[in-house]
């Protein structure tokens, strides 16, 4: 069996499972944010449920509109706080104590290898970076999970993605995923799991693995996953007390198909409007004028991302007429970035640094786009109207490409940036 089959078999008390089989799996951890959680909470109340299945296995995070940007948003936050208090939810990350849920889940040790984790957010697949099976579900199913601690899954077919070669400087995990999106297409992995492996993935840090697993949903995948290794153990050492077992694939014939990608000659890429699969080398779209650059999100708002950005921005000013919004993915990332002097570099370059929130990515707040505006963004979706006006345009790119574009005021290949300061 492959890693996904093994995890689902273990969680459903079976020796073996096969693709297409429907299993009922025990849930190790369930996460909600305020946008999806308020519906789950209402449903539980309608059902008259007095106690959730396990108040220590539920993680609640306020992250979509932080701090509240409207009365409506504030009301959702209030619903979350009241529920967390009334149910004695141990892990409730209120404003100031967490950040973007997917970053919080990983850095606070809620994700460990071999676990089955569900989240009422599509980017829950991010947790595959640590070798867990994690997938997004809706609010009604989450209410059912809160009651029973179980959920049905159809065992997915799995596509193995074998990555080899070394990245050129300023070519990153984001560019790798955009390449995969170009190959697979917007629904190329629908109902399927993606297992990432090979020497390049082995050499990636956890932040980079999170970026590729995070975007698995963008090609329709149920989850993305990387087998846990020494790097995973090192990452988790001071972050979790949970016991866990590392699970690995052991059957090369358990994949629907394999895809091989060599990153040695991979250029920086962008996904042009309005699809993640509309991918082009940055060099082909260089020169398009940019109104806003956004750097952040559950895809690319980690310390490692911000370090690349700071390296490019250090001692320079962004182009007059272009605005740069930088949002660290969590309070922890924000504080580390502050200690390392990155925030000072950003502010000195003319960037605005905002607190951790999902806001800009889904067109909620902190960086909403006007009509006809162009944004280069390190987020994960460039659907029509995703970040604001339906007439705005979003180019998805790596933090390096985003930073280079902010300096030039135009889409810019970071590998050919002139270093005149």
């Amino acid at each position: 069996m492959n890693i996904i089959e093994k995890i689902l078999a273990k969680a459903s008390g079976k020796r073996e499972v096969v693709p297409g089989e429907i299993v009922e799996a025990n849930i190790d951890c369930a996460m909600v944010n305020e946008i999806t959680g308020h519906l789950s909470i209402r449903y539980l109340q309608e059902l008259g449920i007095e106690k959730v299945w396990d108040s220590d296995k539920i993680v609640m995070v306020i992250d979509h509109t932080v701090p509240a940007a409207s009365v409506e948003a504030a009301e959702l936050h209030k619903i979350m706080r009241r529920f967390a208090r009334s149910q004695n939810i141990k892990y409730f990350y209120d404003i100031g104590f967490g950040g973007i849920a997917h970053q919080v889940m990983v850095e606070k040790g809620h994700v460990v290898p071999g676990n089955v984790i569900v989240g009422a957010d599509s980017h829950t697949c991010t947790y595959g970076a640590l070798g867990a099976f994690a997938t997004g579900i809706g609010s009604t199913e989450m209410a059912a999970v809160f009651i029973k601690g179980k959920l049905w899954f159809k065992v997915p077919k799995v596509i193995r993605i074998y990555v080899e070669g070394s990245f050129k400087e300023y070519v990153t995990a984001k560019d790798l995923f955009l390449k995969i999106a170009e190959i697979l297409g917007e629904n190329g992995a629908n109902y399927r799991g993606l297992e990432f492996g090979g020497p390049t993935v082995a050499s990636m840090n956890i932040a980079e693995r999170m970026t590729i697993c995070n975007m698995a949903i963008e090609v329709g995948a149920k989850t993305g996953i990387v087998e846990a290794d020494e790097k995973t153990l090192a990452y988790l050492k001071y972050r979790t007390n949970k016991s866990f077992q590392i699970i690995k694939s052991d059957d090369k014939n358990s994949y629907e198909r394999s895809l091989e990608v060599d990153v040695s000659n991979l250029p920086p890429l962008v996904a042009c409007p309005d699809s993640v699969a509309n991918v082009k080398p940055v060099s082909e779209v260089e020169g398009i004028e940019v109104d806003q650059v956004f750097i952040g999100s559950c895809t690319n708002g980690r310390l490692e991302d911000l370090k690349i950005v700071a390296k490019i921005l250090k001692g320079k000013k962004i182009k007059n007429g272009t605005r740069l919004v930088i949002v660290p993915a969590s309070q922890e990332v924000y504080l580390e970035a502050l200690k390392e002097g990155l925030i000072e570099t950003f502010i000195s370059s003319g960037a605005i640094v905002a607190n951790p929130t999902c806001g800009a990515c889904y067109g909620g707040h902190i960086g909403v786009l006007a009509s006809d505006e162009v944004c280069v963004s390190t987020t994960n979706r460039n659907f029509i109207g995703r970040m604001g006006s339906p007439k705005s345009k979003v180019y998805l790119a790596s933090p390096a490409t985003a930073a280079a574009s902010a300096l030039e005021g135009k889409i810019k290949d970071p590998t050919t940036l002139r270093w005149a300061s």
Partner: protein, 163 residues
């Protein structure tokens, strides 16, 4: 379980941001969500969607896990969604909130906007009433039909907890 309605036809990759843009995610009343259904792609949708059946291409509902997307469609008066394929989270959400969703690869080419059609979920048969055209779709498994019969998973759970 049989459903009748008028066809509203859309293409591939109709994502959740088109079905209900992110700025409406703070709404709590499904009737309010319904006022913005498909706002991202079809500004006249709410004028014509009562008792309609959406027939779409590949990957309907891709993107977010927001249950607000199928809720907005259901409360706007959409009776059923037929697509060549669905994004998996949307599909589960639709069934769970009681919006029938059924896959059929070949129906899209045969049907036109405004056609009156009948959907037989149990047997997986799609019929265009005036054209005497019948197309076989993937029938829904019993546990999903049970959820839909009750109008959603929540109602089914209510019934089960009462027992």
């Amino acid at each position: 379980m049989k459903i009748y309605g008028k066809v509203l036809k859309y293409g591939d990759n109709i994502n959740t941001d088109l079905i209900i843009p992110g700025k409406y995610l703070t709404l709590t009343d499904p009737h309010e969500m319904a006022k913005h259904a498909m706002e991202g792609i079809d500004s006249s949708f709410t004028e014509k969607c009562k008792d309609s059946i959406i027939v779409a291409g590949e990957n309907f509902g891709c993107g977010s896990s927001r249950e607000q997307a199928p809720l907005a469609l259901k409360y706007a008066g959409v009776k059923c969604v037929i697509a060549k394929s669905f994004a998996r989270i949307f599909y589960r959400n639709a069934i769970n909130i009681g919006l029938p969703a059924i896959e059929c690869e070949t129906f899209w080419d045969k049907v036109q906007e405004g056609d009156m059609i009948e959907v037989d979920l149990e047997n997986g048969i799609l019929t265009i009433s005036d054209k005497n055209v019948k197309v076989k779709a993937q029938p829904l498994p019993k546990f999903m039909l049970d959820i839909l019969e009750e109008g959603g998973l929540l109602n089914l759970l209510k019934k089960q907890t009462r027992k």
